[in-house]
């Protein structure tokens, strides 16, 4: 707020500054499309010059063509829906359990002493190593993907919950106590809002990992979902379809990340 004010004061004094500002806005608006176009063109060029076969490296045109095709016949939407469903349940499960455990760990040193070694040990095992076990235990239905997704989301959200709750100013606890606030009031009026910035940071990492979790699960054994689609397309040497599936995953990840950023902008307005 203050910085824009001072900038306006400056711009009114220096006459050519508005031009520079406009120019900057121009760059911001066109930079992304420009880079994208440049990238796509050079990709197309590379394939043409080297004359790669489609199953090695398809051209952007091949990818767009395939994208259009699977979009229209409903294949893409079907698999996307399945993966989104798994991500949604996995995120919900992972985030809730991580926040519950995180709160417990942050508040109780005894609980921390008991659980911390196991949690850290669990984190040291890569998720691809646990995924087959989970499939053995609960089968290759959507539940295994939800669990793998929840598992990968769990740790970053847990850590950030602990750090967030521990970051609460001790003096503010005294304030709440001096006001005779109940435990629930201390949680909703103090701990939750105080921990929110760090918590949302954990959520940002969590949502990006959740997509990886779901896909890893689908790789291990599935008959639908974007991970399955990638596997199937690879088997059929349909490389353009692999590209389409990857592109869709990128779009999902970016959207989830954007959603958390939106939430951040709304909830943390006081920081700006």
């Amino acid at each position: 707020m203050i910085s824009t004010q001072t900038r306006q004061q400056f711009t009114s004094k220096i006459t050519f500054k508005p031009f520079v500002d406009n120019w900057k806005r121009y760059i911001d608006m066109f930079l992304l499309p420009f880079v994208l176009t440049l990238f796509t063109l050079s990709w197309q060029l590379v394939v043409w010059i080297n004359d790669y076969p489609t199953f090695i490296l398809p051209t952007p045109v091949d990818v767009i063509y395939t994208f259009n095709k699977v979009l229209l016949d409903g294949t893409l939407w079907h698999h996307t829906q399945v993966t989104l469903f798994e991500i949604f349940l996995g995120l919900t499960l992972g985030i809730t359990t991580a926040m519950l455990f995180g709160y417990g760990l942050a508040k109780s040193h005894l609980l921390e002493k008991i659980l911390a070694p196991y949690l850290v040990a669990m984190q040291s095992i890569p998720v691809v190593a646990i995924a087959p076990l989970i499939i053995i235990w609960v089968g290759s239905g959507y539940l295994s993907k939800v669990l793998i997704c929840a598992l990968i989301v769990f740790f970053p959200v847990l850590i950030n919950t602990v750090i967030g709750i521990r970051s609460v100013e001790p003096n503010l606890y005294d304030l709440m106590r001096s006001l005779q606030a109940s435990r629930w009031q201390i949680f909703t009026m103090l701990e939750l809002p105080a921990a929110l910035p760090i918590l949302l940071g954990g959520l940002k990492i969590g949502v990006t990992l959740s997509v990886i979790g779901a896909v890893v699960g689908e790789f291990m054994g599935a008959d639908e979902g974007l991970g399955f689609l990638i596997n199937q397309a690879r088997g059929l040497f349909n490389t353009p379809l692999v590209f389409v599936a990857i592109l869709t995953l990128v779009i999902i990840t970016l959207s989830l990340y954007g959603l958390v950023t939106l939430l951040e902008n709304r909830l943390l307005r006081w920081r700006k």
Binding site: L172, D174, S178, L179, Q180, A181, R271
Partner: protein, 247 residues
């Protein structure tokens, strides 16, 4: 109104036991303005927190209106050494906090917060966040927050310690004005002798840690007090007496 009887406080850490308060007894009348001074680190904050019921004394007892004080009370408003505001709440919402905790009706809350903000001269800043305020303004918000609940006793812990001399003088006069209007009992910790003499009816002087009550000096200066009184000989004499009492 407020009785402290033989208060003793010992902090137990893993390795040592540190006695901070040593057998302190005094009484505060309703409507009295009492300042507590003492060398830094002697246990002033500890004493005030005991009196606010934040933790119990190891020996002794506190009586508020002849009833033992065992936990924080709605009759006591506490102002901390740092403003201690919630950065995610606006000025209005920070002042609203105590009323919200006690589930007062929305209409009453709005009225009381507006009144409290007007009293400390921050009406226009109701929608600002703490980050957008100066140190002095933040401390005024925290006083407004304590006032909004209309406590019978106001306890302040070096509330102006971080401010420059001019701001501090201004807020001293503001505090006296608020006190004149509402007539609460005020208990204020400070390490500034002139501030104590300017504000108080009585100054309690504490010793080095473990803090004992070494003198109870009454300040018979006329009220209302203003800037000029700080430069009168009576004022200097009293300030010198307080200074001598502190080792």
């Amino acid at each position: 109104m407020l009785h402290a009887n033989h208060l003793t406080k010992i902090y137990n850490t893993e390795t040592t036991a540190l006695q901070v308060i040593d057998d302190i007894s005094f009484e505060v009348m309703a409507g009295e303005f009492v300042c507590i001074v003492g060398p830094s680190g002697c246990g002033k904050t500890t004493l005030l927190r005991l009196l606010a019921g934040l933790y119990p004394p190891d020996i002794g007892e506190i009586l508020l209106n002849n009833r033992p004080l065992l936990a924080p009370s709605a009759e006591i408003g506490l102002v901390f050494q740092k403003a201690n505001l919630m950065p995610w709440r606006t000025v209005f919402d920070n002042v609203r906090l105590p009323l919200q905790v006690h589930h007062l009706p929305a209409g009453v809350i709005k009225q009381r917060v507006d009144d409290a903000l007007e009293l400390v001269g921050l009406t226009e800043f109701a929608k600002h966040y703490p980050r957008q305020l100066s140190g002095g303004m933040e401390q005024r918000v925290s006083i407004a927050r304590a006032l909004a609940y209309q406590p019978k006793v106001l306890m302040l812990d070096e509330p102006f310690g971080a401010l420059d001399a001019l701001n501090r003088e201004r807020l001293n006069e503001e505090l006296l004005r608020v006190w004149r209007i509402h007539g609460q009992t005020v208990l204020m910790v400070t390490h500034d002798i002139h501030e104590a003499v300017f504000l108080a009816d009585r100054v309690l002087v504490l010793s080095q840690r473990p803090a004992k009550l070494v003198q109870d000096i009454s300040i018979p200066l006329t009220r209302p007090r203003n800037l000029a009184i700080r430069y009168k000989p009576d004022f200097s004499k009293l300030a010198y007496r307080v200074r001598q009492a502190i080792q």
